[in-house]
Amino acid sequence: MSSTVGPGVLAAKRSRRLKEGAIASVLFACAAASTLVTVGVVAALLGETIGFFREVSLVEFLTSTRWEPMFRDRHFGVLPLLSGSFLIAAGAGVIALPLGLLTAIFLSEYAGPRLRRTLKPVLEVLAGVPTVIYGYFALTFITPLLRVFLPETEIFNAAAASIVVGVMIIPTVSSLSEDALRAVPDSLREGAYGLGATKLEVSTRVVVPAALSGIIASFILGLSRAVGETMAVTIAAGNLPNLTLNPLESMQTMTAYIVQASLGDTPQGTIVYRTLFAVGMTLFLATLAMNILSQWVLAKFREEYR
């Protein structure tokens, strides 16, 4: 007896299936769009970057210690820009990683709920300050302060940039680390207290190791932000490509160079125009390498809890 399942019933189902299919396609298109944009960005970088390397050898790009693309006697060594970016990021890390982690431990393990509710939003305001403000803060407050103690400090210097970038990424580090610390189950804390651990021992010997993967992720993310930071370092560290370890001197970062070259009259198709893409690609690869490194570190040092 199949008379109850007529052709009309089947047709209605087919239309519903079409509708479901259409919705799935729209959702897929949305998801694909962001991926395609990423691919497009890389492709756009790649075209001009290849053009750049037709004129400049990769060996010169990676080994020359001078970055002078706009002078008559041109030099295309990216090392000064790379070292500028990484030195300032490292300096920022020296400030932000310990401060961010200690802040996270305080918020997660020590602060009462009321104090946490007050402190967290205040801390997150730091992340909301426009970076150009940080840049002028560095130039007009931190640099003069540094010059009081270290008179040889240049007007534009890496140290002031490191300090403000460090302050800028503290919320990133502390907020993500705190999430990781608070995700550690209370049963582990109780277990440690039951063995006669003090609060400090519970925090440092059980909670922090158990949350280490999340903490390292927050470090890498903070450092990636520091490497990619543009406005504050352009204002505070200046525009002098300078291969040095002295933080009191002016340095140019990759991002600052891109700002400088984009602001000038750089005709399309010239070698200076192509340096923008070569440096952009280097910056992209550097942050990609950091992300891959963080994944590897996570897999290696993970203390997983259940």
Partner: protein, 260 residues
């Protein structure tokens, strides 16, 4: 001569003695004016229906209730003539003498060795760490199963093995008293049996207070049983008496399964 409710404790001194013990969670009076004497080197079971305050009472014995912000404890618990709740008593020191094993196995996300070594390392161990780890694992009847893989993660162990690891971890601190909060309730029957056998072994060297909702378990492993109901200690005595000839009607109803 130490007695509980007129019951002879066989000449053993009390390891713990609670007097007028009350616990409040905010407005809730979770444990009400309990007097209880825990004889040394015996197993004392705390039984009663869910929410009767038996776990809360257990947590008074090593000041774990201090970790609950809303909890307030009144009364005294004497341990070697000292009140655990007197001012100037450090709860950290209390917990090193009176260890605790929890309901759900909670090994640290570290190696088997590091779990057991955690307490001794923290206390600045005097002596051989390897020997302490081995001895603790042997006492917890786990050594034979893990001796060749001490560097494996504790999470590689089964639930029953994890719980014995947690017992080894507690014993490594060398406590006098071990508190157990339903230590077998998350385990299968075979793992439960191993824990029960272990408890029987342990009472030679330790005093054990165990919370259980399993009356057969209380009857099998304990020497004394305390029945709690709605925050009050209803009856306390030798386990055999509690299960075969209780004085109180409510105890009889509970142990015969008429409620709870």
């Amino acid at each position: 001569m130490a007695t509980v409710y007129g019951i002879d404790l066989g000449g053993r001194g009390p390891a713990l003695q609670a007097r007028g013990l009350s616990v409040y969670y905010g407005e809730k009076h979770a444990v009400q004016n309990v007097d209880l004497e825990i004889p040394a080197n015996q197993v004392v079971a705390l039984i009663g229906p869910s929410g009767c305050g038996k776990s809360t009472l257990l947590r008074c014995f090593n000041r774990m209730n201090d970790l609950v912000k809303t909890a307030r404890v009144d009364g005294t618990v004497d341990f070697h003539g000292q009140n655990l709740y007197a001012s100037g008593i450090d709860p950290v020191e209390v917990r090193r003498r009176i260890g605790m094993v929890f309901q759900k196995p909670n090994p640290f996300p570290k190696s088997i060795y590091d779990n057991v070594a955690f307490g001794p390392r923290m206390n600045g161990l005097d002596g051989d760490l390897d020997a302490t780890v081995e001895e603790s694992l042997r006492r917890a009847a786990l050594w034979d199963e893990v001796s060749d893989r001490l560097d494996d993660s504790a999470y590689a162990l089964s639930g029953g093995q994890q719980q014995r690891l947690c017992i080894a971890r507690t014993l490594a601190v060398k406590p006098e008293i071990v508190l157990m909060d339903e230590p077998a309730s998350a385990l299968d029957p075979i793992a439960t049996q191993r824990i029960e056998e272990l408890i029987y072994e342990l009472k030679r060297d330790y005093t054990i207070v165990i919370v259980t909702h399993n009356m057969q378990q209380a009857a099998r492993i304990s020497d004394y049983t305390a029945f709690l109901y709605m925050g009050q200690l209803i009856e306390y005595g030798p386990t055999e008496t509690i299960f075969t000839n209780p004085r109180e009607k409510r105890t009889e109803d509970y142990v015969t399964g008429r409620f709870g």
